[in-house]
Subunit: 142 residues, 2 copies
């Protein structure tokens, strides 16, 4: 099982601890998460020096090889919005997680795509639980 | 000629004056801009009371009927990122405009799609000029 985790990089890192809670829960469950480093502290500086085209090609290749996408959408991000649509177009299941009370774009919350799930959480522990539950529905034998 | 203008609503309105400069330049040139109201002050409250599904269906219908999309991407937005990908998938030309010096997602700046143009501007007058130039290349006889 391979899950692409999408989160804000350029747009802000206020939810970095939640990103890490989600990726670590997935990794602990044996899921491959090619983008796990995007949750870590310091990634903004690391990504800044990579050519834009290289980031795009890398992320698209990871999305194509993933079984599903989990996006943390509490902080707005063009990249994450683009990736949600890209993954849905590829027929991948997509879970969007956001902190309860955060306003999320209606292009996400109002999107009736059958492969899209949007859930809110109250804290990073619950965010990780929702990610694990989503993973379990994809792979019920694990 | 019908151009879908995309800008941040939920994500922040710091560039609202630029949004208005762009939509007014297009409207003055005789372009139909179904989303022109999204550039106006007060739109956040107006949009808040509309059901998410209705916003999604409305915006998708407008994108399908548009000849092209212009997105202002200085402020991160999931919706705008989603819309850029959606319009490209429909084969529409897309222009992304951002203030010079603003960090924009590499999923946008590194995207090699032949229908995507990304340009920076120094002020709202130049943003409007870039929007008009883009419109002229789509419709060179006007």
């Amino acid at each position: 099982m391979n899950i692409y985790f999408a989160c804000s990089i350029t747009g802000g890192r206020a939810y970095e601890a939640v990103y890490q809670s989600i990726t670590r829960a997935l990794l602990d469950a044996g899921v491959e998460v090619p983008t796990a480093h995007l949750a870590e502290t310091g990634v903004v500086d690391e990504e800044r020096i990579i050519q834009p085209r290289a980031v795009y090609e890398r992320d698209v290749a990871w999305m194509r090889s993933a079984d599903a996408l989990i996006a943390e959408v509490s902080v707005p991000s063009h990249g994450v919005g683009y990736e949600i649509g890209f993954a849905l177009n590829l027929g991948k299941p997509v879970l969007c997680l956001h902190e309860q009370g955060r306003a999320v774009s209606k292009m996400i919350t109002g999107n009736p795509h059958p492969n899209l799930i949007v859930r809110s959480y109250q804290n990073s522990v619950q965010a990780a639980e929702l990610a694990r539950d989503f993973f379990s529905t994809l792979h019920p034998t694990l």
